[in-house]
């Protein structure tokens, strides 16, 4: 049975519809990541689950019970805020103990729970400090500690790592994953960073303008994106899109005219796309420097050497940008024409509505 389920959930601020009907089931112990560009409604959705925003329409169920009108503390959730939201005038100990003080637990119990949380988060030596004396990573840990002591059924994280620098972010990412493994509780995590989404999630929910674009495991989304939005959002660098027109679709092969790039024939058992404007998608990392598959000849404007990878940025004759990513340090220079190709089975095809055709 699912622990959290959203049913036709909607949210409007005055006239603006922010969340436009969301259905989602989350099972116990799952690590779910809401990901999407800014303004897609992911934080609003999380705040609705937390009980910080009211629900315009639809239902939120936690443990089989509708919680639309319950305050956060009765929903069995705890939330970690993007800005940490620590109480600057209290010590780390009192910050972590705050929810327990509200509950008026006896001091011995408070000591035990705060001690346990501090141990998990390696904050034992910092308990008497003020938040102002801590580094960003430690502040974030205090905020997580405050969530842990309540022993909630569901943890909600609102972009918890976005204030940290890159090195600390990947460190905290691993800490959070270990924490999830140890506690085994359900975690819902909001981020705009697809690397966090890909590495941490059991299940990714891609949001686009208040609707769910796709739900699936990270590799699902990577290999079989449902639509142009997900295809372009997941993966870095971004998937290349080339516009074309279907010349013929006979039920086994779709032949697409790509203009000056030539014609490509993809194996697809579909006939409806005949005559449509379609989009061909190919990930930069699927490009090869040999002549296998479909070959594109282009001149890179910029070549980035990252040591492990080499990335080329070029403009196709049709004016579309095109990125290639190659392993190691092949002999690529700016303004020198290069032939790169991709295997046909790596190509994605999207119809006129932007939906994937497999």
């Amino acid at each position: 049975m699912s622990q959290l389920s959203l049913k036709r959930l909607e949210k409007s601020f005055n006239e603006a519809r922010i969340i436009k009907g969301i259905d989602l089931d989350v099972s116990e112990g799952e690590f779910v990541v809401f990901v999407g560009p800014s303004g897609c409604g992911k934080s609003t959705l999380l705040r609705m689950i937390a009980g910080l925003e009211d629900v315009t329409a639809g239902e939120i169920e936690i443990g089989g019970k509708t919680v639309n009108d319950l305050p956060p503390v009765q929903r069995g959730i705890a939330m970690v805020f993007q800005s940490y939201a620590l109480y600057p005038h209290m010590s780390v100990y009192e910050n972590i103990a705050f929810p327990l003080r509200v509950e008026k637990l006896p001091q011995a119990e408070v000591d035990a729970r705060v001690g346990a949380a501090a141990k998990v988060l390696q904050l034992e030596s910092r308990l008497q400090h003020r938040p102002g004396q801590l580094s960003g990573g430690q502040r974030q840990r205090v905020a997580i500690g405050r969530a842990i002591v309540r022993q909630p059924k569901i943890f909600l994280f609102d972009e918890p790592l976005s204030n940290l620098d890159a090195a600390l972010r990947s460190e905290m990412r691993i800490e959070l994953m270990e924490l999830h493994k140890r506690l085994g509780s359900t975690m819902i995590y909001v981020t705009h960073d697809q690397v966090e989404a890909m590495t941490m999630a059991d299940k990714i929910v891609v949001l686009d303008a208040g609707t769910i674009a796709q739900v699936g495991s990270p590799l699902d989304l990577y290999h079989r994106p449902d639509n142009l939005f997900v295809a372009g959002f997941i993966g870095s660098p971004k998937m290349n899109f080339i516009n074309g027109r279907v010349k013929s679709a006979d039920g086994t092969t779709v032949t697409i005219d790509l203009g000056s790039l030539g014609t490509i024939a993809l194996p697809r058992a579909i006939t409806e796309v005949a005559g449509q404007d379609v989009t061909l998608g190919i990930r930069p990392e699927h490009m090869r420097l040999d002549d296998g598959g479909f070959v594109i000849e282009t001149t890179p404007n910029i070549v980035e050497q990252l040591g492990i990878h080499t990335i080329t940025y070029s403009t196709l004759s049709s004016g579309e940008p095109f990125i290639g990513l190659f392993e190691g340090n092949p002999d690529l220079v700016e303004s020198k024409s290069v032939r790169m190709g991709f295997a046909l089975e790596q190509a994605h095809l999207f119809d006129a509505r932007g939906l994937a055709v497999y």
Binding site: L52, P72, F81, A85, P88, P99, V102, P131, L134
Partner: protein, 310 residues
Amino acid sequence: MTDVARSTEIAAADSPATVKPKTKVRSAKPMIDRYKWYEIAALYAGIAVFLFFVLAPFIEGFLVSLKPLAQLFSRPYSFIPRVWSFEAYVSMWTSVPALGLHIFNSFFISSVVTLIVIAVVVPAAYAFARFNFTGAGLLLAGFLAVNMFSGAVLLIPLFRLMRAMGLLNTYWAMIVPGAAFLIPSSIWLLRTYMLRIPRELDEAAWVDGASRLYTLRRVILPLAMPGIVVVAIMTFIGAYAQQFIFALTFNSKTEFMPLPIGLFAFFGKQEVIWNELMAASFVGILPVMIVIVFLQRYLVAGLTAGAVKQ
């Protein structure tokens, strides 16, 4: 200048032999804080003029309090006392026996006004800073409008009101209007301060099960303390300064008179005891000074450091 002459001059400037080694010690200050000597002189001259303008009455008042009465009317007038004497500070207590009571009254009235204002303003400011309720903007605008009337304009309606409520010739006659006129601006001041406290702190407390009042007590009040102290100081000074007009109008009993009115006792039928009047004024300012010195220790800046990442 001929071309030849110019070229030799350029050559001379460029040649290393003619460049003098710079031995001047470089200032440790950043460039933006470095000033020429005349700029510093001008800065201090400006400060001196300003300070003199503000403090001149006090200086003269203090000097008058040190002179014997006879010297005040001597010609030619001398600003510096010929004989320094603190006698006025002693004799004033006997020429106006109620002086101590007047000083106490001033202090008492201002303290009660301050307590009332704080008690009213803190919850009001919190409400205006955090709750969205119909008419909040209108109310705030209304408070601002009230501030535009000075108490003097409303003296007659206030007098009738006081008489109807039977408050004339009591402490309340000075406390109630005093507090009423200071509350609106204090609400504005403290509301602005509370708006700077991140809303996430309220939300985090709410998620953790705290009620609004618990959050106000445990989270908002400690963080708003510097703002509350500012409001307290402003109110105390404001109450001290505005007593005059209310006391003059609503009170005729000597035992309730605050200092500004009490000072009239130094105005005799024949003459004004100027030196004692000045001495009493200075002693009367003392309580305000003490309160400010005491309260400003709580004006800790940067108390919200570390609350949220800015």
